[in-house]
């Protein structure tokens, strides 16, 4: 991270591309493999993460002056768990069919490395509005990654998008199995690194 303070737009962009949770930082990989076998699930989880990430950043940032550094970890945990419970109950009430499939992973958002990392690294040291932008960017970056991964996996593995059949013929069944998740994430990560190195002069992700 550069020492220069970034503008809010830069913060959002940074979360989406420069420090994309999955493709650049290579953290929170578990959901990217577990729930991306269909676009519906991937998008649902992505939106939940956008909500939790943004709200957690805002709350932590607003409370940063009162939090005793010695007990900051439990406090972060409580705040994250609070918002995860909100989204968990909301989905259980209003999005029952999706909740039945990915409910476990909604609850597991509590343990997402990316959310915790942003609370510790950014929100506890920065102002409320820029923390919100950072959370939004990080969340949208995660959502984008989920969309891209689940797009390829559902298209290749089921020949469908959002559950609607698009291509006929026998699909590559392996793509909706866990093995296909590893293949898709690995190949896409390589592809985005190649783009970064080829067109933007980056050095490629090194699993920061």
């Amino acid at each position: 991270m550069s020492l220069k303070p970034k503008t809010n737009i830069e913060l959002i962009k940074n979360g989406m591309f420069g420090e994309n949770t999955i493709f650049r930082m290579a953290i929170s990989l578990c959901p990217s493999i577990a729930v991306t076998n269909g676009m519906k699930n991937g998008v649902a989880l992505g939106i939940s993460v956008v909500f939790v990430q943004t709200m957690v950043n805002v709350t932590i940032s607003a409370m940063r002056k009162f939090i005793n550094p010695k007990i900051r970890i439990p406090i972060f945990m409580l705040v994250i768990a609070g918002y995860v419970t909100i989204i968990d109950l909301l989905m259980a009430t209003y999005a029952r069919p999706i909740y039945k499939e990915i409910g476990l992973y909604i609850q597991i958002i509590v343990a997402f490395a990316s959310i915790f990392a942003r609370a510790e690294v950014f929100a506890s040291k920065n102002k409320v509005f820029s923390s919100m932008c950072d959370g939004l960017g990080m969340g949208i970056g995660f959502l984008l990654a989920m969309v891209v991964i689940s797009f390829f996996r559902e298209l290749l593995g089921k020949g469908a998008l959002f559950g609607y059949p698009i291509v006929s013929g026998s699909p590559l069944l392996i793509m909706i199995l866990p093995a296909g998740g590893f293949l898709a994430v690995g190949l896409l990560m390589g592809f985005f690194n190649w783009i970064d190195m080829r067109f933007f002069g980056g050095k490629g992700a090194s699993g920061v």
Partner: protein, 336 residues
């Protein structure tokens, strides 16, 4: 000073000082040659389909390697025969009646993902042909388990489908298998000659053994992996394969059917993906055999050679590290 000194001048170079005749290309093409008897037998039993599937595999494997390397502006290494061999092995591992896109997808996965993305020949963790086949088996479980009956007529368009001997053994038991093939001697003879349903190149044990003998004679493979692999399968089949309790099984059926001979002599012995120390190779072979029999007797698939070799490929570096010989003269560090 000048001429006399030249004569006694020593050439200083790093080892190795004497090089053998063998090159990668020569070894690879010899392995290809040793697979030829099995290929001819598959032509005999399954007709032109065998040539079509195998040819398509080879062609797409070689093309995939060439296109990948030229598009990345690297030197194309199709001449060394390793891509040809991967395609050949993959073709011999496929059922005869697969649709045309299956060999192509399998070869591309085998060459590009398993071999070239890991750094090319010599750097791959897994056997490329087997990963290609595993990918296909998991992706197309129905198409990959349609086995046509061998006909021994060159043109047979209406090939009947049937189950492999191991499939029958798993589903219906030994007595049914003997009933289909006549009596026990007939069963063994058909298995030995290859007159049974199965992947193209795995059926004819005798043809595979001829090829393997060539490799053993030339010293390209050693007995360690194949022997320990086959022996473990035999012992475990004898010990646990029977219905009437321990040590009542029929090892010969397990030895002759499935892809055991093809796997043990041609796939498990791949230089890159097996341990390079002899002691480790024996452990590797025993592990392959044990996993194979566990899958055959208890697992969901009738055949386990492929998964066994792939699983043991993961352990090859670990085995090598574990059996490293002691340094000469090294003293064990004393505990304090």
């Amino acid at each position: 000073m000048t001429t006399e000194a030249k004569a006694h001048e020593l050439i200083v170079s790093v080892s190795p000082h004497v090089r053998g005749q063998e090159t990668v290309a020569r070894i690879m093409w010899t392995v290809n040659l040793s697979l030829l008897p099995a290929f001819i037998m598959s032509l005999y039993y399954f007709g032109p389909l065998a040539a079509f599937v195998t040819g398509l595999c080879i062609l797409s494997a070689v093309l995939a390697e060439h296109i990948y390397q030229t598009s990345l502006k690297k030197k194309s290494t199709i001449g060394d025969g390793s891509a040809f061999l991967t395609g050949f092995l993959l073709g011999l591992n496929l059922p005869p009646s697969v649709p045309f896109y299956i060999p192509i997808i399998g070869s591309v996965i085998a060459i590009v993902i398993t071999k070239l993305l890991f750094g090319g020949l010599g750097y791959n963790v897994f056997n490329p042909a087997l990963i290609g086949r595993a990918f296909l088996l998991i992706s197309f479980p129905k198409l990959m388990t349609v086995w046509s009956e061998p006909t021994a007529q060159f043109i047979a368009m209406d090939a009947k489908t049937t189950a492999t001997p191991l499939g029958i053994l798993k589903e219906e038991g030994l007595s049914k298998l003997i009933e289909i093939f006549g009596d026990k001697t007939d069963l063994y003879m058909s298995l030995l000659m290859g007159n049974r349903a199965g992947s193209l190149g795995e059926t004819s044990v005798i043809a595979l053994l001829i090829g393997a003998a060539l490799l053993l004679y030339r010293g390209y493979i050693t007995w360690h992996i194949p022997f320990s692999f086959v022996a473990t399968v035999g012992v475990m089949a004898w010990a646990f394969g029977g219905q009437g309790g321990l040590f009542t099984g029929d090892p010969l059926i397990h030895l002759l059917s499935g892809g055991l001979i093809l796997g043990a002599f041609f796939m498990a012995t791949d230089y890159v993906t097996c341990p390079s120390i002899r002691k480790g190779q024996i452990i590797f072979g025993i592990g392959c055999g044990a996993i194979t029999m566990m899958i055959r007797l208890k697992g969901g698939f009738p055949e386990g050679v492929m998964f066994a070799i792939l699983l043991m490929n993961c352990f090859a570096p670990l085995i090598d590290r574990g059996v490293k010989s002691k340094k000469f003269g090294a003293v064990k560090e004393q505990k304090k």
